[in-house]
Symmetry: C2
Subunit: 248 residues, 2 copies
């Protein structure tokens, strides 16, 4: 278990082998054993294996080649629709059309996704998370036919690995952990925490390829730009509104 | 691994035994191996073991007894503060003061939390997720001294189990999984999916204790009420504003 966690690598190239139906079932089962708020199970998983449907989803994930190459996609959704329908059929008046309820359901869905990811890796499959899911939620809602009360929050591509990448660097543990209360970072501390990362050849190459002066500039000017973040923020907030989660 | 996932039970009673420092370290390490957007590691973990600090946090978690009884609390935060500080020290202009960036960091933090939860369970520890973290984020920010750019999104209580509860029911797998596109639920389907749950003696008892007619009413009228959700929604949105994530 802990080995599966420690050995995680993101896999972006997959073999052509389909993922067996029973394994897909095992993955869903692993998802459903996750902690869930009040045992309400405020999530749904949309399973995509059909080639045409993968092609329809690809533009929502910026046409990264793994979307159509992976034999299996799972889109994890915050879902209050099922719970609301149950309430209405049981003389109960649901009050879950607000931002807190979306947050609760989104957390439920992400915990499920990580259970599925680890169960997949434990079975020799490889996975990649697609952050594009929240950026392009509006399009994904249309393609997957998601009703009010349902919002996609993340996607996994899943398949047998067609590559064997090495473990990716991480900041030292003290960068992300604070004992008893948050100790804010001085410039000296930041320098120390990022020194190893900044010394790696792959990042030096990355800076050169992108014609930038620092690694941080590759993030701010190329990969995660303010103008994109702002426009996707507006879009995602309008999706929450449309899906009925902004009535507070 | 898959056994740890399938055997998960929420543990609310703990032995008095502290969690060893090396184990806490192993848990943090397991957290950092999780998938993270662009390898930015947009999260921080606040570790609480001090009795006085647990008492200070307890009201934010509605004074549930496990908060002070568990030897270890971990509060998982969406954190753009560290990344922003690094950008600013590297002549890069961060554009992450918006809702999409909060969502991205919150997803990062929740994936880390589930890695920590499973690593803990794999080591014989028990865990409980505290959904109260988003409800009471404002108070937690004060207590843990969280700067702008940091928002708590979930908390785990962790310790050696002082109880051995049985596995909790879940809806059938077909309730949460949709092949190729979302199939909305008809009343007949809802009846079928919830039949087993509604037949369980513990829930019948629960309805009686709460003087309600249906299980759904226990949720809507007692446990997760509209008025609370609405007021906590407003509070959480104001926290996002205060912490600098609503400038889109």
């Amino acid at each position: 278990m802990i080995d599966t966690i420690l050995d995680h690598r993101t896999i972006r190239k997959y073999k052509n082998t389909p993922v067996e139906k029973e394994i897909i079932n095992d993955l869903i089962k692993a998802g459903t054993r996750a902690s869930t708020t009040g045992n309400m199970q405020l999530y749904s998983i949309i399973i995509t294996t059909d080639e045409e449907n993968k092609k329809r989803l690809a533009p929502s994930h910026f046409n990264q080649s793994m979307i159509t190459e992976a034999p299996l996609l799972m889109t994890f959704c915050a879902d209050f629709n099922r719970f609301n329908k149950w309430c209405e059929l049981r003389k109960a008046k649901p009050g879950y059309d607000n931002f807190l309820s979306f947050t609760t359901a989104a957390i439920d869905a992400i915990i499920v996704a990580q259970n599925v990811a680890l169960a997949a890796e434990d079975k020799g499959l490889g996975i990649c998370y697609l952050g594009t899911t929240t950026y392009m939620a509006k399009n994904i809602i249309e393609i997957l036919n998601l009703p009010k009360g349902v919002v996609p929050v993340t996607t996994l591509t899943i398949g047998y690995p067609g590559e064997d990448p090495s473990l990716v660097d991480r900041l030292p543990l003290e960068a992300v952990s604070h004992y008893e209360s948050y100790k804010d970072y001085t410039p000296e501390v930041i320098d120390n925490l990022y020194r190893e990362k900044e010394s790696l050849d792959e990042y030096k190459e990355f800076i050169k390829e992108n014609n930038k002066e620092t690694l941080a500039q590759v993030f701010t000017d190329v990969r995660y730009k303010k103008e994109d973040n702002v426009s996707f923020s507006k879009l995602f907030l309008s999706v929450l509104e449309d899906q009925g989660f902004m009535n507070q």
